[in-house]
């Protein structure tokens, strides 16, 4: 049991002492996951709203497929991206594998179906009503999409944060396409996983604490925000 206590003590030392490596890992995690979430959001929110409102053939089948993809395992995304970016793969010439860019690509692909699916179902369930109001008040197509984004701002924020949480806590994809290279592509989750297999707990615990703080932080932010609205 001693090593757990020791681990916590050492972990606090690393955090309070602003250990350069630990904070480097944390900031790369934040940068990769935030970028991926932002890119996916810009693409998927307008598209999701549009698809949610629109009636088209095979909409039910589309929903089912989309919802399935929402829970796509991260290792599969990692594998696909690794195959595509590998030197022998179709995008090999860009030399992207084992770089932070590859990690952003993988995580973007990972959260794209999630944001699209969540936005789509939100728009399907609640967008219609807003669309009707917008129409009766004389808004055109663009007015209405803007109106829906503004009206569902809060839920969309929750969706974005959900996607971000998934991105920052996944290990499979970033491990495969990033390679967990020290000071380059090492993020919180891959470090924890590696430190565990090395039997070296302090840094793993320190990063575990940070990951928890990040998760709690954004979740309570969302709840306090939705609470006073």
């Amino acid at each position: 049991m001693d090593y757990i206590q020791e681990g916590f003590k050492e972990a606090l030392k690393l955090l309070i002492g602003f250990d350069k490596e630990v904070y480097g890992i944390i900031s790369l995690s934040l940068i990769v996951s935030t970028t991926a979430t932002i890119i996916a959001s810009f693409l998927c929110i307008p598209l999701g709203i549009h698809l949610g409102l629109k009636e088209f053939k095979g909409k039910r089948a589309f929903s089912r497929i989309l919802y399935t993809f929402m829970s796509i395992p991260s290792v599969i995304v990692g594998l696909v991206v690794a195959i595509l970016l590998s030197r022998r793969g179709p995008f090999g010439k860009f030399d992207l594998l084992y770089t932070p860019k590859a990690m952003i690509i993988a995580q973007t692909l990972l959260v794209t179906p999630l944001i699209l699916g969540l936005t789509y179902s939100l728009s399907k369930n609640r967008g219609k009503e807003i669309e009707r109001i917008g129409q009766t008040l004389g808004g055109n197509k663009l007015d209405i999409i803007i109106l829906i984004i503004k009206e569902l701002k809060l839920d969309l924020m929750v969706n974005i944060v959900t996607a971000f949480s998934r991105a920052i806590s996944e290990v499979g994809a970033v491990m495969i396409v990033g390679g967990n290279i020290r000071n380059r592509t090492r993020v919180i989750t891959t470090t924890i996983s590696m430190m565990n297999s090395m039997g070296d707990y302090p840094m793993a615990i320190a990063l575990g604490i940070v990951l928890l703080i990040i998760s709690f932080g954004i979740n309570s932010l969302i709840y306090s925000y939705s609470g006073d609205d």
Partner: protein
């Protein structure tokens, strides 16, 4: 959040409905189903009987390189058939493997970091440590060998590493505290170089992953021969330096000492199974088997057995 919850629930619901349907359809003919129950129970009894005859299972903590090389897949089924003891292999870094031994989470260790192993036995966590076999490490790098190491120092790893460091050519280190990583660090030390800088990348991954990264980056790395040979066809990498004594790597087997733990943990350690596994591994027949592994596929053995018979 609510939305996700709702979604999860609805997925669960779908599953429940799907699963729920099956028994309903089958349940129509109750008499038949009941008849079947008897035979199922009989089967269970038979299976349990078999289980009792076996020697249970042992947990073998070993390094990723033994696992990746395929040696264990080759020899373990034979052991399991001979003794009825199942071997659960946990492939981790040497550091973690030793930690598992210290925590009483493994019954026996097969690792390759002699110093740490002897320390482990000295602390009382291992009963004995015996040589099993050795393999050797190699320096692999791009086929074109941009630093011409193959020409200048084909059997001198120290010279090779010095050249890499001097040219600051990309080198991928395991960086995961594994036996291979420790070995690599000891060779750098021997060469009196402290590897650091932009060119020295610590992957923190297993051998297979490190070889892939090395391939992608067309860099140099130190690998065990077994893993390299097993992946050779998928890599654009060649053996650059080999045969240096500094590159030899001894594997040892250590049964965990149950006496070191309190009763609760002690009970769970399969001492007898571990002993039998060690004896089997060191027996002449098995040693022969180890020496054969890889010859057919790669034209050379991956491991050289060197158990000493007392």
């Amino acid at each position: 959040m609510k939305r996700i919850l709702a979604l999860t629930l609805s997925i669960l619901l779908i599953f429940t409905v799907l699963v729920g349907c099956t028994p309903k359809d089958e349940g129509q003919d109750v008499g038949e189903v009941e008849e079947n129950v008897d035979s199922v129970e009989e089967n269970d009894v038979v299976e349990n009987g078999v289980e009792e005859e076996t020697g249970g299972r042992i947990i073998l903590a070993t390094t990723t390189s033994t696992q990746d090389s395929g040696l264990l897949d080759y020899i373990l089924p034979i052991f399991e058939e001979e003794t009825g003891i199942e071997v659960d292999v946990i492939a981790v870094g040497t550091g973690k493997a030793l930690q598992m031994g210290r925590d009483g989470d493994a019954d026996i260790l097969l690792v390759h970091a002699k110093e740490s192993e002897e320390e482990f036995v000295a602390e009382g966590y291992g009963k004995v440590r015996k040589d099993v076999m050795y393999n050797d490490f190699i320096l692999v790098g791009p086929k074109e060998d941009p630093l011409n190491l193959k020409e200048n120092s084909p059997n001198d790893i120290l010279e090779g590493l010095k050249t890499i460091a001097k040219n600051e050519y990309t080198f991928i280190s395991r960086g995961d505290d594994s036996g291979t990583h420790k070995k690599e660090l000891s060779i750098w030390k021997e060469a009196q170089i402290e590897p650091a800088g932009e060119w020295y990348l610590e992957a923190g991954s297993g051998m297979g992953d490190v070889l892939k990264i090395t391939d992608e980056k067309q860099a140099y790395t130190i690998s065990d021969r077994a893993t390299y040979l097993s992946m050779r066809d998928t890599l654009d990498l060649d053996i650059i330096i080999e045969g240096d004594e500094n590159l030899f790597n001894q594997y040892g087997i250590i049964p965990v000492n149950p006496e070191k733990f309190d009763d609760e943990v002690k009970e769970r350690i399969n001492e007898e199974g571990a002993e039998r596994f060690m004896d089997w591994l060191l027996s002449p027949d098995t040693q022969l088997l180890i020496g054969e592994y890889g010859v057919e596929e790669y034209g050379m053995p991956l491991f050289v057995p060197n158990a000493k018979l007392d």
